[in-house]
């Protein structure tokens, strides 16, 4: 190769690298830009709607005025209900997979099933919840039916979170405990879990975000189109934020006039997710600092 040609080749190598990297950077900025556009749009449109009344009042005038109080309460009921179901079982399941199951085949099978459950579309959970909890078990459209459906859906997230957290605990801790004559259970309770639980907690907080935003699973298991009162028992129907947003946006009695309500509801939903993310990140930072200090 001549020197001339070498130089030319080097130049073209540099040029294509510049073009490629520039494109990738631009595309990444685009993706981040999309997020900011969505967030920004909803915040700008929704912020003027949000007020104390909006959060604490019943909807009025065909959902074009008033607030979204029952939907907020409903969503919190569902979060609570699904947590009660999925957290203990999910955490126990994660412990079983990581600490107890010794047969590799069993673990692989359970993991496969967990992944499958995680991949099932939310609307299918809705169908299942309706068939089992609402109809077969006779709960009707109720908080309990909705919570169980949502809980089932978050189960894989909880299990994986627990598993990851336990996996990151160094084996030397366990061996140290066994060496002192502790049983498996004692080791898990006194050594493994305390080390793993910060990660478990942050994972759980993030899974709450998922519960608060899901619509499809609650469509036919709990969500009420319009129900301006608070639930009295777990067998009552409730309104829920995501379904309320759907109703306001697409099928309210007066879609144009309920637009502001819809923006406000969307903003509340996003704020819940953002808030949970912030908490999870703060906890992560806090715990990692604590570990360093120890």
């Amino acid at each position: 190769m001549t020197l001339e040609r070498r130089k030319e080749l080097e130049r073209s190598k540099k040029r294509s690298e510049k073009i490629a990297f520039g494109t990738f950077r631009a595309m990444s900025l685009l993706v981040v830009g999309i997020l900011f556009v969505i967030l920004g749009f909803i915040i700008i449109k929704g912020i003027s709607v949000i007020s104390w009344d909006f959060i604490t009042k019943m909807p009025e005038d065909g959902m074009t005025k008033g607030g979204i109080y029952p939907a907020i309460i409903g969503t919190f009921c569902l979060i609570g209900g699904s947590m009660i179901f999925s957290f203990p079982i999910g955490v126990l399941s994660g412990i079983y997979i990581n600490e107890y199951a010794s047969n590799g085949l069993v673990v692989r099978f359970i993991r496969l099933m967990t992944n499958n459950l995680a991949g099932i579309p939310s609307i299918v959970f809705g169908l299942f919840g309706m068939s089992l909890f609402v109809n077969t078990l006779g709960f009707g459209d109720s908080i309990i039916a909705g919570s169980l459906t949502l809980g089932l859906m978050t189960l894989p997230i909880v299990i994986r979170t627990t598993e990851e957290a336990l996996k990151s605990v160094d084996n030397s801790f366990r061996q140290g405990s066994y060496a002192l004559g502790a049983t498996k259970l004692q080791t898990i309770r006194r050594v493994t879990l305390p080390i793993a639980y910060p990660n478990i907690i942050t994972g759980l907080i993030l899974s709450i975000g998922r519960v608060s935003g899901e619509t499809a699973p609650i469509l036919f298991t709990v969500a009420a189109y319009f129900l301006p009162k608070l639930p009295h028992s777990i067998f009552d129907q409730v309104m829920a934020l995501p379904y309320h947003l759907y109703v306001l946006a697409t099928s309210g009695t007066n879609i144009e006039e309920s637009r502001p309500m819809a923006y406000g509801t969307a903003l509340v939903l996003i704020m819940i997710v953002l808030f949970l993310n912030l908490i999870a990140n703060a906890l992560r930072k806090y715990f990692s600092k604590k570990v360093k200090m120890n």
């Binding site: 990297f21 099978f109 359970i110 499958n116 099932i120 935003g213």
Partner: protein
């Protein structure tokens, strides 16, 4: 040092509970399969004729059976002659229950409708081209007409049928081809948009960006994953739909394209996270070896890093498609939900999940419509199962190869 008995027992009990919890997901998957199919499979033992009704014709009419499609065409006045459905040349005369009032007086019908069976019998006997859609209860043993039989709904017809009118009378049309195609169009459109974008971002984050940039981008992408799908749908409805309407000058902006765009945004975090993880597994030494041979960073990326992590990238794409196929609310809100076979991205379409979400509430439990929706759910379930198993297979092969 022996442990006291009750302590051992306690440990055993706890172990039992843990084992039970460990099997919860498998149990859940099995239950889901059972309940979906239990509710849905009855569909294929059903006649498409509305429950409690029959179709009757003149006893001299050679036609004995009609399929759901022909029944619909007949009652839609698209088929007007018996010849078209295998009968003799004779004009078809439609007769509904309500028509009785325009033919006979109230007196003739009787105060308690007690004369109806005879009247129907006479009518079918006297009009040779008649086809009447009447309640079964009015058919007596001395009925002078002939009851048309209809085949039960067949799996093949169900999958390949081009019409989805599950509540149509006299015969429901449950062909899901438009829904399948609608789902495919929207999902494929979504993946075409999000795969290049997602790959570019994952390559950028894994290989090009400064760690500081990466550390700010990652949480942002996590956040993108956390936004509820109704919020995406709402954003699509108020921003993207009007935009598409005005840019392409369409009568409505609710189109497959709108669905694809929203789904693409929603699939991005999945694709980026998985692809980036996989790209990052490329051993540093392999990249260094490439650079040490005088390759540029870009050459190293596309000649070494991408081929090395191709299976992970494939998995990301497949999972992205899986997510898109199953996504419900956002699609429901922006695609216009017209159950017809799409011809372009600028037409309204209806996907399988959106159909379930929109219609389950109005279907009656145990009815044909209800069963059809559960079969749709089963189809979704099977699709996601295939997606997951494929991904599982790819990643297990990848693990083997990298050992």
């Amino acid at each position: 040092m022996a442990k006291p008995f009750h302590k051992k027992l306690f440990e055993k009990i706890i172990e039992g509970i843990l084992t039970l919890s460990g099997s919860i997901t498998s149990l859940a998957v099995i239950l889901i399969v059972i309940f979906l199919f239990k509710e849905g499979l009855g569909l294929f033992n059903q006649s498409p004729i509305a429950k409690g009704f029959v179709l009757v014709v003149n006893k001299n009419n050679p036609v004995n059976t009609l399929d759901a499609k022909s029944i619909k065409n007949i009652f839609d006045h698209e088929i007007t002659n018996w010849k078209k459905v295998g009968g003799e040349r004779d004009t078809i005369i439609l007769f509904y229950l309500d028509d009785i009032n325009s033919i006979y007086t109230e007196e003739q019908i009787g105060q308690n409708l007690e004369n109806l069976p005879t009247l129907f019998s006479n009518l079918t006997d006297s009009i040779s081209g008649i086809i009447a859609f009447i309640p079964k209860t009015y058919i007596n043993s001395d009925f002078k007409g002939k009851v048309i039989t209809t085949d039960n709904i067949k799996v093949s017809k169900f999958l390949s049928g081009k019409e989805w009118f599950p509540t149509a009378e006299p015969a429901a049309q449950v062909g899901i081809l438009p829904l399948i195609l609608g789902t495919l169009w929207v999902s494929i459109g979504a993946i075409l948009l999000s795969l290049p974008l997602g790959l570019a971002v994952s390559i950028y984050l894994a290989e090009i960006a400064h760690p500081r940039v990466r550390n700010t981008f990652k949480p942002i992408i996590e956040l993108l994953a956390g936004i509820p799908s109704v919020v995406y749908g709402f954003f699509g409805l108020v921003v993207i739909v009007p935009l598409i309407q005005s840019v392409f000058n369409l009568p409505v902006g609710e189109t497959a394209l709108a669905g694809s765009i929203i789904l693409a945004i929603m699939a991005l975090p999945t694709i980026i996270t998985i692809a980036e993880d996989s790209i990052r597994t490329t051993p540093r030494s392999m990249k260094e070896a490439s650079l040490a041979l005088g390759a540029s960073r870009w050459q190293t990326i596309y000649k070494i890093v991408i081929p090395y992590s191709i299976s992970g990238i494939t998995a990301a794409a497949i999972l992205g498609i899986g997510r898109a196929i199953g996504e419900t609310m956002a699609v429901l809100m922006v695609t216009g939900n017209a159950a017809s076979i799409p011809h372009s991205f600028l037409e309204p379409v209806r996907t399988i999940p959106a159909t379930i979400a929109a219609e389950l509430g109005e279907s009656s439990q145990g009815g044909m419509h209800y069963q059809a929706l559960f079969i749709l759910g089963s189809i979704l379930f099977v699709i996601t199962l295939i997606v997951n198993l494929t991904v599982e297979y790819i990643s297990s092969k990848q693990k083997l190869a990298k050992r």
